[in-house]
Symmetry: C2
Subunit: 370 residues, 2 copies
Amino acid sequence: MAEILRAPKGLDGVAVADTTIAKSDTDGTLIYRGYAIKDLFEKSTFEESTYLILYGRLPTKGELEEFEAKLRRYSMVPHNVYDIVRAIPNEAHQMDVLRTAVSGLGATEGGISSEEQELSIIAQMPALVANCYRLNQGMEPAEPDASLSLCANYLYMLTGKKPSSFEAWTFERMLILYLEHDLNASAFTVRVVASTLADIYSACTAGLAALKGPLHGGANEAAMQMLLKIGSAGNARSYVQETLAKREKIMGFGHRIYKTVDPRSQLAKKLLKELLEKQGKGLESYKLCEAVENAVWEFKRLPSNVDFYAAPIFMTLGIPIETFTPIFASSRTVGWVAHYNEQLMDNRIYRPDAIYIGNKGLNYVPLDER
Amino acid sequence: MAEILRAPKGLDGVAVADTTIAKSDTDGTLIYRGYAIKDLFEKSTFEESTYLILYGRLPTKGELEEFEAKLRRYSMVPHNVYDIVRAIPNEAHQMDVLRTAVSGLGATEGGISSEEQELSIIAQMPALVANCYRLNQGMEPAEPDASLSLCANYLYMLTGKKPSSFEAWTFERMLILYLEHDLNASAFTVRVVASTLADIYSACTAGLAALKGPLHGGANEAAMQMLLKIGSAGNARSYVQETLAKREKIMGFGHRIYKTVDPRSQLAKKLLKELLEKQGKGLESYKLCEAVENAVWEFKRLPSNVDFYAAPIFMTLGIPIETFTPIFASSRTVGWVAHYNEQLMDNRIYRPDAIYIGNKGLNYVPLDER
C-alpha cells in the first residue's frame, strides 16, 4: 500500500490543482487571467470581465456583442422557479432561498446543453437574487427593463428605483471585484462536486451552500450590521478596542492570503468616497469605516478586506442588507463556472484519505446484554 | 512565504483529517465505529446502526427507544416542502428534485436547534425520497403507516404495497450497508461546507450535489439499466467482453479502496439469493449477476461493488429505478451528519492552494484597439 501523506488542516499550503483563472498573492495583488484587478476595475465592464474569466482572454468587439446578446437571451428565469421560491416561508435566510432556487433551476433546466446551462445560470443570477428577496417581502418578481444594461437592471430590480449612471457604474465595479478569487472554500467545493461529473447546477448549488457559512461569504452582511451598531467615527476606536479585548472578531478584517492589504478593499474604499461625494450627503459613513480600519490596524495589524467596504457601498446604493451575500454569490458564480470547467479539463474524482484513530475489532453485543 | 506542497490529483493518498467514524480497507474490510460491517448487517437495525454512527457507540435499550421515538417525532416533512417539489417539472432527475427538497427544508427549518436539525433531516429522508418520486409521477404524498417500523414504512411509501417482514428486513440490510463509507467525494464535500460553519442542511444539500455525479452515486441505477440490457446469464460473458473491447465501463465494478473484494457486495449477493428463494420465482437475476461478475473478474480482475447487487435487490423489492440513487443518499445522510460534526470538533476552513500557471502582467488594451 502506498504511503499516506498527512496534509495540514484546511489543506493550508497544499496545491490541489494547476490553475490559469486567477491569482491572489500575499503582496496584495490579484489578477484575473493575467490582468491586474485595478485595470479591470477602472476600465472593464461586468460582461467583458465575465468573458475574460470564462474564456481566458479579452473579447473582440464582435465577440463581446455576441456574448452580451447571449446573456440577455438566457436571462429569463423559468416561471416555476418562482413558484419554488413562493413555497418557502418568508422568514427564511436569503442564502437558503437562493440555494434552493438555483437547485430548482437545475431540476428544471436539466435538458438544455451544457454551454447554455453555464451562461444561463450566470445570466439568471441577478433576477434570482432580486426576486428571491422581493417574493420573500411579499412583492411580485421585478420586470426587467430592457433599456438598461445588465448591471443597471440588476440594481434596479434590487432597489425598485432607476439608478443614475454613476450608481450603476459603482455597482458594476463591486461586481467586478467579486467575480473570482481562486481556491477558497466555495470554489473548492465546486471543484470537488465537478470531479464526480455532476452538472453545473449541482456544483453551483454546492458553492452557494459553502458561501453561506459565516467564515466565508457572510462577512459583508456582518460588517454592515457592525457598522450600523458602531454608528459614527467617534465610537470606532473604543468599539474596536473593547471588542478585541473580549476576543471577539471585527467583521470584514483579515484574510488568509492578504496580510497587509487587500487590493479590492482599497479600490472599494476610494469608490465609496466618490459615491458619497457624488450624492452630496456627506462623508460620515466613509469616516466611520476609515476610523474602524485605522483602529483595527492599530490594535491588531489586520487589513480590511473587500467585504468591509462593499457593505457601506451597497447600503448607500439603497440595496437591502439581506441580499449582500447573495449579490456576492451572483458575481462569484462566474468564477465557479470557470473552476468547474478547469476541473473537468484534467479531472480525477476527489477521494482524500483520513487517518482512522477510532476503535477496531469490537464485538457486537446483543441489545439485551448491554 | 511557506513552501507549497503539491498534492496528487484527487487528493489520492492524502489524509485531510483524523476520523473515528468508519474505515474501509484494501483487504476488503469495512468497520463502522469499530464494528465489522458483517456483524451489523447480520444483527443490527437501521436505527441502532444510525445511533452507532452518530454517537460513536451502541445504545442501551433505553437510549435506543428514546432515539427511535425522536426519529418518529421528527419524521413529518413540513407541507411547504412538497409545494416546492410540486413546482418542479415532472421530467426532472430525482436527485435534482431531492437536492432541491432538502435545500428547501433547510430554508424552512432554519429556526430549530441544531440537534433537532440533524435528526430531522435523517428522519425525513425516507418520506422525502418516496414523495419526491410520487409527486413527480402525479401521485399524492404517501401517508406513513404508524404501525410499521421505519424501514418497512420507507419501503411501503416507495412501492405502495405493505412489505412482508422479510422484504422489510432485506431493505433494512441494504440501508445499513449504505450508511457510511469514510471520505468519498460526497462526505468530503460535506466536510468542506461544514468548515465554513454553514448549517447541516447546506452541507447535506452539497453532499447530494456531489452524490448525483455518475462517477459517484449514480452507479446503482446504471448497474440496473445494464442488467436489464444484458437480460440473461447466457448473454453476460459476450456482453462484458464486447463492452471492455470498446473500452467502455461495466457499471457496478471496481472501487478506489477495494481491489479484490467489496465486503458489502458479498453480503448483498447472499441477500439477493435469499430474497429470490423466499419469493420462489426463480434465481434468474441472481445467475445473471453472477455471470456478469465472473466475466468481469475473468477479463478485467475487478470485483463487483455494493451498487451492483443493490440494484437487483431494489428491483426485486418492487422499488422504482429512479429512486435507487436517492435511497443511497437517504441512508448516507447519516454518515454525512457524522462527518459534519467530526469536522466541527477540530475545524479549520478548507482553503487549499493552486499552482498558478497562467498569464501574468498583461496590459489591458481598450476594446476599440483590440
